[in-house]
């Protein structure tokens, strides 16, 4: 099973090198692709100097577009599975083989590394938001996703093609709900995650409000029409 780790990186000069080093050391069988999302800091230089496998988006296009570029790469190079790994060191690469095994054994389309199943999970406002998303996904699809906002998700070949070709299919919880309703099998594995090692998150406070608005509206309203 050929697995590609997609590492979207926007202004991640502090952690990118460590993240990729850890990834290649713990999972030598897993290929990776850093998607430099038009970073304005030293990220592209680090990619060149360390000769990382990477592509550069010429302008900043956002996380969704960066992951989509990675999915297109995975599709064109015939990978069996693609897993999204944050470049900030949050995600522990040693879970990738576990996820791949689960995907094969259980015939899953999507495998999510769940902090909640490992006894962790987001706390505070972020945890409340995640619980709300879990609840509305359960209401609309019947499936229980304990950690819908986990960024560490593995997609199989069929899902890679959907994400690479689809319109507005962001690697976000509302896409999970939509794919579940269309018959995708989603399995979660317990996984721990670290605190962010540095850099700035894609989800700042103000944007988290529009994130929640978009996610809830997408799951509660638009899911029925897409």
């Amino acid at each position: 099973m050929r697995v590609l780790a997609i590492v979207p990186a926007y202004n991640e000069e502090e952690c990118l090198a460590n993240t990729v080093q850890e990834l290649t050391q713990t999972c030598p069988d897993v290929d990776y692709l850093v998607v430099n999302d038009g970073s304005s800091d030293a990220t592209p230089r680090i990619c060149d100097e360390l000769a990382l496998s990477h592509i550069d988006l010429p302008v900043n296009c956002g996380l969704t577009s960066a992951v989509k570029a990675g999915m297109k790469y995975a599709m064109r190079h015939n990978y069996d599975a693609a897993v999204q790994i944050d470049s900030d060191g949050q995600h522990i690469p040693s879970y990738i083989p576990t996820m791949a095994k689960t995907m094969q054994n259980e015939g899953a389309d999507i495998v999510i590394a769940s902090r909640n199943l490992a006894g962790g999970g987001a706390v505070g406002a972020r945890g409340a938001g995640a619980k709300l998303i879990t609840a509305i996904i359960r209401q609309t699809t019947g499936a229980t996703i304990t950690d819908p906002t986990s960024g560490m998700r593995m997609y199989n070949r069929a899902m890679i093609e959907k994400l690479a070709r689809g319109f507005d299919l962001a690697p976000e919880p509302d896409t999970l709900a939509l794919l579940i309703r269309r018959g995708a099998k989603v399995v979660e594995v317990p996984a721990e995650m670290r605190e962010r090692q540095g850099g700035t998150s894609y989800l700042h406070f103000m944007s988290s409000i529009s994130y929640m608005a978009r996610t809830c509206l997408s799951i509660l309203l638009f899911q029925w029409f897409r």
């Binding site: 010429p58 302008v59 319109f167 507005d168 509302d174 529009s210 608005a213 978009r214 509206l217 997408s218 309203l221 638009f222 029409f225 897409r226």
Partner: protein
């Protein structure tokens, strides 16, 4: 606030909602961009269903008629969206320009390589 205005608002808002849903269905607008329109339509729907809100604010602001408050809300919503659209267009123009510059530079570099081989 006249009953006619309320009916027009309700039908207008529902019509707007149906258009937004159809565009999402046809992949003509991203969900992130549709959030504003759904919220605006729901806001007008609320104003039409609960006219007391308009009465309260027109009293507060000293308007002659509550319908004037409704018009003010619609105009404010439009100005807000218009300005945000102007910002988006600026950002997009900049990105398109950068993309064409990158493309041109890339082409030049590849062209040089080909000449070197020949």
């Amino acid at each position: 606030m006249s009953i006619v205005l309320r009916i027009v608002l309700i039908f207008g808002a529902l019509f707007a909602l149906s258009i937004v849903v159809r565009k999402v269905k046809k992949s003509k607008i991203r969900i992130a961009d549709s959030v504003y329109w759904v919220c605006a339509a729901v806001l007008l729907l609320i104003l039409a269903i609960f006219p007391r809100i308009a009465f309260f604010f027109s009293d507060l602001l000293g308007f002659l008629s509550p319908s004037n408050f409704v018009f003010l809300v619609v105009i404010a919503l439009m100005l807000l969206k218009l300005f945000n659209l102007a910002c988006d267009v600026s950002r997009l123009s900049d990105k398109v320009e950068q993309l064409s510059q990158e493309l041109a530079l890339e082409k030049k570099e590849f062209g040089d390589n080909d000449e070197g081989k020949n």
